[in-house]
């Protein structure tokens, strides 16, 4: 190998090493720190039939709805479109995203608007006067 080619290879090698050694720590530095999440179960008070209760479950804003004739359901309030929080409209029995007019039914499925998928559902069970999620 000629000296010029050798120096070229060496320069490239050092360059790639230097770039990688800076880029990796930088990306890790910018990476989100791990949020502390309580992975256990949480208990919440019941809601009247047709009513809803806004809660925070494992750092996620969520909602418990007491659906007439269908019982309780716990859904994430984070709209699957661009992250705004959906509201429960008692009158129309729908969940509405105020940002881009996404409509969900009380099962969390998309009825209209731009959200690409259903709201996340959390498993729950009713124990006496409490609702246990998780």
């Amino acid at each position: 190998m000629k000296r010029r080619s050798f120096l070229g290879v060496l320069g490239t090698l050092f360059g790639v090493t230097a770039f990688g050694s800076v880029a990796y720590p930088l990306l890790r530095y910018l990476g989100p720190p791990q949020a502390e999440i309580d992975a256990g179960k949480q208990s919440f008070k019941k809601a009247d039939v047709g009513d809803a209760r806004e809660i925070v479950f494992q750092n996620t804003p969520a909602i418990i709805i007491n659906r007439p004739g269908k019982g309780y359901i716990a859904l994430s309030r984070v709209c699957t479109h661009l992250g705004c929080l959906i509201d429960y409209d008692r009158k129309s029995k729908k969940l509405i995203c105020p940002c881009h007019a996404g409509f969900f039914n009380l099962e969390g499925r998309v009825e209209s608007g731009p959200p690409p998928k259903a709201l996340t559902t959390f498993p729950l069970r009713v124990e006496g006067e409490d609702i246990i999620i998780g």
Binding site: H81, P98, C99, H100, P116
Partner: protein, 365 residues
């Protein structure tokens, strides 16, 4: 005394030579209109932003528990704090408006054509950096609008498969907008974007100066229309000196910009301050009537209308790329847009569409 000082400066930096050779002999086409001054007026707006931004930094606290309060204190307690903040806010909005008008006029006059393609590209990048300034800036007051507008924008990358979520989390510093996002955007706004902006603006001004101003297409002479096969400074059949003639025109327009800024501050102080911008951020309540700033209303409405998130965002990215590299697509030498009815028509339709989407986005439910 004054003469002595003048002579001292003259000996050391040659001011007369500088004015004579670099400013007075620097020629500008005599048919230039007020649209030719928009670049320097926008630059003046940036200077206003830098100065007022510096003063705001003295009292602003970039912490999620104190940010909103500190901005309220600037507005209500600090003597003339309201003045500094209002100038910063109103001038920011006018700056974006000026940039838009600057681009529209450059397009209509065909000033982006060879050899000024890189000047356009640098200008396009400056527009993107300006929008990044606006975006990072309006999270800082930590109001409801700040919080939810940032939530929406920081979720845009999630439209992309595989890397989307990681990108969004990297931008926010977590799954949602938090205090970490605030400090991240603050450092972006005051630490990262200014040097990036200054580098690009340096290139942009250098290119404008180096090549020279373009002649309005309707008054172009045959010599000016000749093809650029090698580098030369633009020559003009009719011209006047940059200093004092053109500079005076520019200064007048800067004064107009300042007059409009102070007029809005005095007579329409809430024009850029909707209610959601004056209530503190509540991460558990998205306001019903949340709207982005006027310059983001068109893309906002577009995202609302297109049912597929990936498609909606991809279309916007493609539009940005086409806009940035437009001079490399449109290589025909003809600069008079009236002689190019198709391009003229398409541009008018796009402009009308932008206004329509902005209006619709503002008033839609």
């Amino acid at each position: 005394m004054w003469q002595k000082l003048k002579d001292g400066i003259e000996i050391r930096i040659g001011l007369t030579d500088l004015i004579e050779n670099r400013l007075r002999q620097y020629r500008v086409p005599s048919d230039t209109n007020i649209f030719y001054t928009l670049g320097i007026v926008t630059m003046a707006a940036y200077v206003v932003q830098a100065i007022t931004g510096y003063f705001l930094l003295m009292y602003y606290v970039p912490h999620s528990e104190h940010a909103f309060r500190s901005v309220q204190d600037i507005m209500t307690i600090i003597p003339f704090g309201w003045f500094v903040r209002m100038v910063h806010m109103v001038a920011a909005n006018l700056m974006v408006a000026l940039l838009f008008i600057h681009f529209i006029s450059i397009f209509f006059m065909g000033s982006y054509k060879k050899p000024r393609e890189i000047t356009w590209l640098a200008g396009g990048l400056l527009l993107l950096v300006t929008l990044a300034f606006c975006l990072s800036g309006y999270l800082l007051p930590w109001s409801q609008r700040s919080y939810w507008a940032t939530t929406i924008v920081s979720n845009l990358p999630t439209a992309f498969p595989v890397i989307g979520d990681a990108l969004a989390n990297l931008l926010r510093g977590g799954d949602s907008v938090t205090g970490i996002t605030l400090t991240r955007f603050f450092s972006l706004h005051v630490g990262f974007l200014p040097p990036v902006f200054l580098s690009i603006v340096g290139l942009h001004i250098f290119l404008v100066w180096r090549i020279g101003l373009s002649v309005p297409p309707l008054s172009q002479s045959a010599e000016e229309e000749s093809e650029w096969t090698e580098f030369r400074h633009a020559t003009y059949s009719r011209s006047y000196p940059f200093y004092p003639n053109f500079l005076l025109k520019e200064v007048s327009m800067i004064m107009l910009f300042l007059a409009v800024t102070f007029f809005i501050m005095s007579f329409m102080p809430t024009l850029f301050l909707p209610e959601a911008a004056t209530t503190p951020a509540d991460p558990l309540n998205t306001p019903a009537d949340i709207k982005p700033e006027w310059y983001f209303l068109a893309p906002y409405q577009m995202l609302k209308m297109i049912p597929n998130k990936f498609l909606g965002i991809s279309l916007q990215i493609i539009a940005i790329i086409v806009f940035l590299f437009w001079p490399f697509f449109d290589t025909r030498a003809e600069r008079n847009i009236m002689k190019r009815p198709l391009i003229f028509g398409i541009f008018l339709v796009l402009l009308a569409l932008w206004f329509l989407l902005t209006y619709w986005g503002r008033y839609s439910a």
